[in-house]
Each structure stands twice: as C-alpha cells, then as structure tokens.
Symmetry: C2
Subunit: 396 residues, 2 copies
Amino acid sequence: MKHILKQHLTVTFQYEVYFSENIFSIDNSLFRDALAPYLKPGLVRQLLFVIDEELSLAHPGLLKQIDVYFQGQVHLALVKEKIIIPGGEVAKNNPYYFNQIVEAIHRHKVDRHSFVVAIGGGSVLDVAGYAAAVSHRGIKHIRVPTTVLSQDDSGVGIKNGINFFGKKNFLGTFAPPIAVFNDYQLLETLSDRHWVAGIAEAIKVALIKDATFFEWLRDQVDGILKRNADTMKYLIWRSAQLHMDHIASGDPFELGSSRPLDFGHWSAHKIEQLSDFQILHGEAVAIGIALDTTYSFLQGYLNECDYKEILRVLQAYELPIFHQLLKDERVISDLLDGLEEFREHLGGKLTIMLLRAVGVGLEVHEMDHDRIREALARLKKLDEVQQQRKLVSLPD
Amino acid sequence: MKHILKQHLTVTFQYEVYFSENIFSIDNSLFRDALAPYLKPGLVRQLLFVIDEELSLAHPGLLKQIDVYFQGQVHLALVKEKIIIPGGEVAKNNPYYFNQIVEAIHRHKVDRHSFVVAIGGGSVLDVAGYAAAVSHRGIKHIRVPTTVLSQDDSGVGIKNGINFFGKKNFLGTFAPPIAVFNDYQLLETLSDRHWVAGIAEAIKVALIKDATFFEWLRDQVDGILKRNADTMKYLIWRSAQLHMDHIASGDPFELGSSRPLDFGHWSAHKIEQLSDFQILHGEAVAIGIALDTTYSFLQGYLNECDYKEILRVLQAYELPIFHQLLKDERVISDLLDGLEEFREHLGGKLTIMLLRAVGVGLEVHEMDHDRIREALARLKKLDEVQQQRKLVSLPD
Ligand SMILES: NC(=O)c1ccc[n+]([C@@H]2O[C@H](COP(=O)([O-])OP(=O)(O)OC[C@H]3O[C@@H](n4cnc5c(N)ncnc54)[C@H](O)[C@@H]3O)[C@@H](O)[C@H]2O)c1
Ligand SMILES: NC(=O)c1ccc[n+]([C@@H]2O[C@H](COP(=O)([O-])OP(=O)(O)OC[C@H]3O[C@@H](n4cnc5c(N)ncnc54)[C@H](O)[C@@H]3O)[C@@H](O)[C@H]2O)c1
Ligand SMILES: [Zn+2]
Ligand SMILES: [Zn+2]
C-alpha cells in the first residue's frame, strides 16, 4: 500500500473549422454534413441557437432561413425558442444573458448529446460558449463567428468567458467547440470600424509567426479596405490557421506557469478597460502592437526599417496607433500599473512578447517604464502628424 | 487554401493522491513538500482555504493549526479569511456559497498561480472545485476530502458541480485537482451513518472491477464497523486506486457518446432525489447495487450464490438494500421514469452496467420494467425479514 497514487490523464480534443458562405442556405449541406457523425439511427438531437441581436437585425432573413434549413431533418430537432442576446461587451458584462442561456438549456432539456450553436461576434460566442461549457459539465458547442476578429482569432480558439466584478473574463473555461463555421457572407453587414478592428489580430500573429503573411498584409491594404471578398477570405483563413497552430503547439489550457502574453496585449487589455470599452479590442490591440513595436525598436531589438514599416502598415489599415486618453499622465501611470498587474496575474514572473524582426518574436521578463513613456511620446507625435495629414487632405 | 482546417489538441493532467494523517501538524511536511514544485524564488503564492463548517466544528483546533502550519513560509501566504461553508447538499443547492467563494477569489486577488484548498465532504469539495475551475479559467485546486465517500471515490476524481433548477450537478466542469490529501485522522469524527455510507462506493467498484477486493470487503465487516483504522485505510486506498484507474483508462472528460453509468447509479440518483436528499448518496448507491444485483440474477446473468452473497455483504455493513419510499406505486413509477430520463441524458441510447459475476460487469441497453418491479418486491421482502430480525434481537 503505497502512500502516493499518481494519476495521469490524457484528453484529446478535435474539431474542424469550416470556411464557407451562406451556410444556412438550403442547398449548402456543409453544416448538416458536419453534424452527421454525431447522429444515431432512431435518436433525435436538439439544436439550441444563441444569436447576436445586431447580427440578426442586419440579416433579417436569417432566423427563418435556419428554420427552413433544418426542416424535415429526422435526427435533428430545432429548439423553437432562439435565444437572442445583444452583441458587444454588454453580453459579457450582464450575468442576465449567461443565466438566460443556462435557463433555456434547462427548460428545453438540452442534454450533453445535443448542440448549442452560437452565431455572433466574439462577445456572444464567449458567453454562449461559457454557458454550454458548464451546463451538464459540457454540452457540445458549435460556433458561427460573424466578425473579422472572431473569424480570424477568438472564434477558432478554445476560450470562453464572462466579465465579473468589472474584471474581463473573470469567469470562464477552456472548452474546445466541436465545430466552427466561418461564413464570409455574414461578415458583409459588419461596420467599417469592426471590419478593420479584426485585422489587428491578423497583423499581430503575422508579426510574431510569419513574415511572409505580414508582407502579404502590407500589400493588400487597398483590397481589404475596399472590402474585396477574396482578399479578406485569405486574411481570415491564414490568421485562423496561425492562431490554431499556436494553440495546438503550446499549452492549450495554459496549465504551465509562464505563458507568454499575446503580442501587443498587455497594454491592449488595460487600454480597453481604461476607455470603458469605448476602444474596441482590435483597436486596442493595434495600439498595443504600435507600443511594443516602438519599444522593441528603442531597446535596440528591432531595426528601424522594420519598426517604421509596421507602423506604416497599421496606419494604412486605418488602425489607431495611439489614443488621446494616453495623453493623460494618470492614464499612463494606470497603464504602467497594468504591467504590474500582469506580473501578478502571471504569478510573479512577467513574460512579455516583443519583436526581434518581422516574423520573429522575443520574450523579455522586464520592461523599462521610462522607455515605455518614450515610446508613447513618439506614437503621440506620429499620430498628430497623421491627423494633420488627414485634415489637410480632406478638401480634395 | 483548404476549406477545412482541422484542430487536434492533446492536454495532459497529472496529480498525486497522498495518504497520510494529521497533514496540518507542524512536523508533517507532506503538504508543504507537495507545493514546493509550484513555488519560485522571490515569489509568493496565496492559499485560500474553503472549509466544511461541521468538519471545522468537529476539529476545533484545525483552523489554528493551519495558520501555524504555514507560519514563516516565505513563498506561501495564507489568505487571512477562511471561507467556512455548511457541509451537505445545501452547499451545492444554494448558489450563495458558490458566489461567496468566487467573490473571495476576486477580493483577495487569488490568481491562476495561487491555490484554492478545499477541506470537507464531497459537497463542499464539489462547490469549491467548481468555483476554482471557472475563476480566471481555472485556479490550481487542492482537495482534502473528509468523508469516507469523498476519500474513496469522489474526492480523488475530476468532477465538480453545483445543483441548479433543482437538478443535481446541473452546472459543473471536469477539472483535475493538482493534489489530493486523504487524511485518515480527519475521518475519525464522522458519524456512523456517513462512515458506513461511503463504503457503498468501495463495494460498487469492487463488484465491477476486482473480485479479490470484494472478498476482502466481505471478510472485513467487523473491523470496519468497529472502526479499525488499518482496515478502513486499506478500504479507502484500494477503492481510490480502482476509481482512479477507471477514470484514466476511459474517457476522462466523458466526451464520447455512450458513457456507461456507474454501477447501481441509475436508480441511486433518482432515489436520493425522490427522498429530497434524506437518503444519502452512499445509501442510495447501496439500494441501487441491491436492485441491479437482484435484477442481474433474475435475468439469469448472475448466479444465485453471488447474488445472495452481495446482498448479505450490503446488509452486514448495515447499508440499506431497500427504502420504504419504494413501497409507494407512484415512487416506483417515478423511478422507472428515471430510467427514461437517463436514456435522454445519454443521448437516446441507454447503457446500464449490470453484473455477470462478482468482479465482472455486463453492459445492457434495455431494462425490463416488470423485472425491475419483481426485483423491488424481492428486496422489500428481504428488508422486512432483516427488520424483524433486528426487532427480535433488540432485547439481548
Ligand atoms: N475567447 C477568446 O479567446 C477571445 C479572444 C479575443 C477577444 N475575445 C473577446 O471577443 C469580444 C470582442 O469580439 P468582437 O470583436 O467579435 O466584437 P463583438 O462581439 O463585441 O461584436 C461587435 C459588434 O458587432 C455586432 N455584429 C456582430 N456581427 C455582426 C455582423 N456580421 N454584422 C453587423 N453587426 C455585427 C455585434 O452585435 C456588436 O455590436 C471581446 O469581449 C473580447 O474579450 C475573446
Ligand atoms: N464529484 C464527484 O465525482 C462526486 C461523486 C459522487 C458524489 N459526489 C457528491 O458528493 C456529495 C456527497 O458527499 P459526502 O458523502 O462526502 O457527504 P457531504 O459532503 O454531504 O458531507 C456529509 C456530512 O458530513 C459532514 N462532515 C464532513 N466531514 C466530516 C468529518 N470528518 N467529521 C464530521 N462531519 C463531517 C458534512 O458537513 C456533512 O454534514 C454529493 O453532493 C454527491 O453528489 C460527487
Ligand atoms: Zn486579442
Ligand atoms: Zn456515487
């Protein structure tokens, strides 16, 4: 009788990310086909839909289309009631929406072999994914991301969460979906602001993983801003792939101790918060990329040519590299406090991803506060120049 | 650009289950030593304790002992406030206690690199484990089970949960702890009723996995009922080991579709519920074992000798094999409905574990309602005989 028993568990998760269009059009069988392996003769699985309200308003035919799509299915039954929740951060801030989904799962007896399908931006996906993950210790979950950011980053990943006590993602889990459908057509109604914001995550992942993709991004500004479909499809596809590889090759559930932060994200999270979420996540990431790129240059890690090109690309995409909030000394010192909070969050040892070159990251464990201030001052200036140019060029 | 990206993730979890005594006695370094690999020079990790109220009343020195145990530790800091929550099902029924733990994690800034330590029966472990699992997407969690049932079964496993909408474990996750400490000394204050109830899980696992262990259990009734320490230590150790092996060899997160129910548990869950939790989980499991054993015999799967011996062993341990509730026709039909609910819960295909012999399980996908009634009638009779014997033997 040994006094220690050792437990060793290995858990494997698999899922597919599909790229398609009009996925609920009756003649696109992709979604139905993807569910087929989960169905069994003689049994009926339920589908509970959770849908982003603005998305559903922008696509008025969608709800009806979904009903028609599943009509006559023998092994699939739609839950009649669809849960419509407002998009954006409010979905994660107000626990009402989490409760609403859990309550619907209970009321309609949606079980572990049925499906919760979430359609919407990253916020709706995060709350629906969390509700599905903890109901019955995990109901099968399907994601249909409808923003650039959720299609090229968050929606193809494995995290979910809601805000609590004013803290971003205070409650949440790691819970891989069983399938993700990136439907390009749903993106078309997205505002320009959200269209552009999601590109920041593609630039981020290119900068630390794939110089070729960054060059491609540099060369495609026009097509993307003119909403060329094929260009955006490739951007999303490649960014999703790089994000997925990153998750699979690392420590997916972040069980280890020194998880390096996502590039540009230590300040991004804090900037979002300091602006009361007036600055979008993608926008804050753009500012964060600009800041850490400038810092990398000032520290001598990154050469001037790369540094300038990165800032030029951000600006070309009309992504912010600075925000007037950051002119306020109190905000700057809050931002620097954020660095300390991250140190705590990481268990005392800070790990920050910087750049050695385009496509090549560099981890550091310390950041110099004065250098950060210097970087902010540079970005402020660059931003002013850009604003003036815009003013000057307005007349023509 | 392929239209499908496949994601494949492998996640590994490891933890130790330690068997010891007086784990918070200053000269027992086991607990401190187990934490050592998680500590880093120059950093301080927090420990937030969540403690079963009745346990703490039964061991009045415990809280103080914990304070002393961690005094002078340089890399570990106790959160001053200890969360004391009532033991038993109320801890899981009232969301107040879940919120209380989450709120303390927030208020004391307990991060992913700190520890939530839960000490108590299965109920307190379940709610504390759930709160730790979803806070910051998973704080490191340590369990100190203090009932026979939680030391020999639930506490060494990976599930947690709370009740919601009156449904057992409606919310919960699979979240392996980082360590479990089975402290025999803490068990000594347990009531006889709870002492005996936890044995049902050992009998259950022996019956489907290990005939030798069942024979051992058959021969140790006296020692166990007289609370012989070495006998109970072996019972817990072997039962924990069999339960752990079962988890590791199967589908730990129950992602697959046809998870066979635990032996004796389809009716146990329903009986607990129908009695408004007046019947303890372990007691309900004993009745469930008796029922499925009798059913296995009546169906010709199990020979009469094994059948009789199993019932004799349950009765020798003073575990119930029947309950007066089950005399009521409405309760019986609720119980049979429970079978249908499980069919739904398993996604339409019922899988029930029965017995082919002691130590040899048998999975079936259908149960005959009349046979179940016949089994209940037999158990009712056997139980009456036993009650009469007790009455007769009372005077001496
Ligand atoms: N889980 C993760 O790993 C992860 C990673 C990064 C970000 N996030 C989270 O994602 C959230 C941001 O997600 P987001 O950028 O997708 O924004 P969002 O979900 O907040 O959506 C932005 C707005 O667009 C609307 N909308 C969505 N799709 C639309 C469409 N096709 N047409 C018109 N309007 C549409 C929404 O209703 C909302 O008002 C944040 O909460 C962030 O924390 C999560
Ligand atoms: N997570 C799982 O895998 C799993 C598996 C089986 C059961 N469970 C759950 O476990 C719960 C039952 O747990 P349990 O049987 O340990 O009972 P319990 O947690 O309900 O505790 C029983 C009673 O004993 C008290 N107590 C605990 N330790 C004591 C001690 N050492 N001395 C004196 N009193 C003590 C408690 O305060 C409580 O009043 C149920 O909710 C059940 O659903 C969970
Ligand atoms: Zn991001
Ligand atoms: Zn049990």
